[in-house]
């Protein structure tokens, strides 16, 4: 990634963080923490890596993105609007009645959403299914599945891990938003996951680690994953929940808390206030 492109994406991420805080403050509902930790991952995928077209959401050879941690929907919607899937004006209807933007992604309401998600632990299996279907159809598309690290406590994830290895689904790239925090506390407190990389490696996956807030490192990791054939890859992206707003960082209490006026003013000051 060129220095210029990196700076462009970083500027975009800062704008998305500002827009996210504006949005969640305005509607007084939604999940700030997980959207902020996934900001660089989702933005790098949509704005830099994936073959997608907002004007042609169903084009046959497109890449797919499955937001398995569906509660980060606001960050997905910001990216979809930026790509032109729907007017940015619609963003302010998030989570409101009659809106196309549901609290968790919905295929039939939001153009560009590839799978309805929210109930955790299903997205990886579905992503494998998409990728296997693409292989069967002879397409060169990639499917990217973003999971939370709390999410991998679901048993279904490890069922999917076995299938990914058995069927050699090298066109499905899993990305783990490894922010170390879940709704009720840290992973260490709630359910320690031990050596996550060793677990995936033991299940037969090619494991790549990267800084999940460095757009260039994320792109490099995806290139490495694409280079691995005959085996599925997972990118363990080290992130910080609530990244970019210091008083939210690493705090499980900001998983799904409404932003009051005082915290909003503080957050905007930290982000530089860009509107």
């Amino acid at each position: 990634m060129t220095k210029e492109r990196k700076e462009e994406l970083e500027a975009l991420c800062l704008r998305f963080r500002n827009e996210l805080i504006d949005l969640l403050h305005a509607i007084q509902t939604g999940h700030p923490g997980g959207s902020l930790s996934a900001c660089e991952i989702i933005t790098t995928l949509y704005q830099d890596v994936m073959n997608v077209d907002g004007a042609d959401p169903n084009k046959e050879d497109r890449d797919h993105f499955v937001l398995s941690k569906g509660h980060a929907a606001p960050m997905l919607y910001l990216n979809l609007a930026e790509k032109g899937y729907f007017p940015k004006e619609e963003l302010k209807t998030l989570r409101q009645i009659n809106s196309n933007l549901q609290g968790h992604p919905c295929v039939h309401k939001t153009p560009g959403v590839e799978l309805s998600t929210g109930p955790l632990g299903l997205g990886l299996s579905a992503g494998l299914g998409m990728a296997l279907a693409d292989k069967y159809k002879g397409l060169d598309s990639y499917t990217y599945v973003l999971m939370g690290d709390g999410e991998i406590q679901e048993g279904g994830i490890w069922e999917a891990a076995m299938s990914g290895a058995k069927f050699k689904v090298d066109n499905c790239i899993a990305i783990l938003d490894n922010n170390g925090v879940q709704l009720d506390g840290t992973l260490e407190e709630i359910m320690p996951m031990g050596d996550i990389a060793a677990k995936w490696a033991a299940f037969g996956w090619n494991v790549i680690k990267c800084d999940g807030h460095d757009v260039s490192a994320i792109e490099d990791a995806i290139e490495q994953a694409k280079a691995c054939k005959g085996q599925p890859s997972i990118i363990i992206a080290k992130t910080v929940k609530g990244k970019g707003i210091d008083f939210m960082e690493g705090k499980n209490t900001w998983h799904g808390k409404a932003i009051n006026d005082e915290d909003y003013a503080k957050a905007k000051a930290i982000l530089g206030g860009a509107k």
């Binding site: 579905a126 299914g129 296997l132």
Partner: protein, 311 residues
Amino acid sequence: MAEKIAIRDAFGEALLELGKKNDKVVALEADVGGSTKSAVFGKAFPERYYNVGISELNMVAMSAGMAREGLIPFVNTFAVFLATRSGDPIQSLIAYDKLNVKLCGTYTGLSDSYDGASHQAITDMSYVRAIPNMTVITAADATETKKAVEAVAEYEGPVYLRLSRAAVPVVYGDDMKFEIGKGIKVKEGKDITIITTGTVLSKAIEAAEKLEAEGIHATVVDMHTVKPIDKDLIVECAKETGAIVTVEEHSLQGGLYSAVAEVLAAECPTKVKGIGATDFAESGDYEQLLEKYGYGADNIAAVCKAVLADK
């Protein structure tokens, strides 16, 4: 007595034939392919047969991704596991996203007889019938199984197709017309209507013959589709006969009896009595279990007479 054919064998053949005609049809299996007979498809089309091992939830979620990409996945395992262990992706992916997945739950009712109550599916209809967008079908014989497989493949959307392990009498000729959502009047009579879903149809026909010998004329309806249910046919039968008995190898809560009673309560209040499960069953010979738990022709006839006495 008519020739008996196992529903699962008919299904295996039907899936194979479908695979020959349509290369978008793929099959998923959770390590019981020799039992569900999906292995017949797998042998012919190994490149589109996915045995995921013992991981039912993963299997259904994988099929969701395949359907999003335009394939027509047939998902196979025992109904007792499909409806419960995969309940989350069935609801949150297959039904919510209106995906073109055909969930094939086999060994319904008491048909996995020797394995016992842990393997007998007597609640699966209740789970899936409550889910929006879901179509629920139970096959009554080998002919209907083949026709149903063709019909659900043609239909665009989620289907839960209930199959059986049992060898049961072939009721229908090859010229039978199968339409999703349209019940079939197998026999017409003016005194009482017996509505069934699944392989108990042959028992109901036998019961109707016994009643006929006693001068009681029963209508027998094969309500293969419990959702969306054929309201018009239920109301028509209620008006014609004024009394209804339902028979299903399934809990009386949430299946055929519930669906029929819901229609009658709203459209045409009529006395309706249900024959179905009120408790877990047990291991044993299938025919002996059917007799013990009330699905034998004699009991069906007796229930009909009791309802008529109270008419």
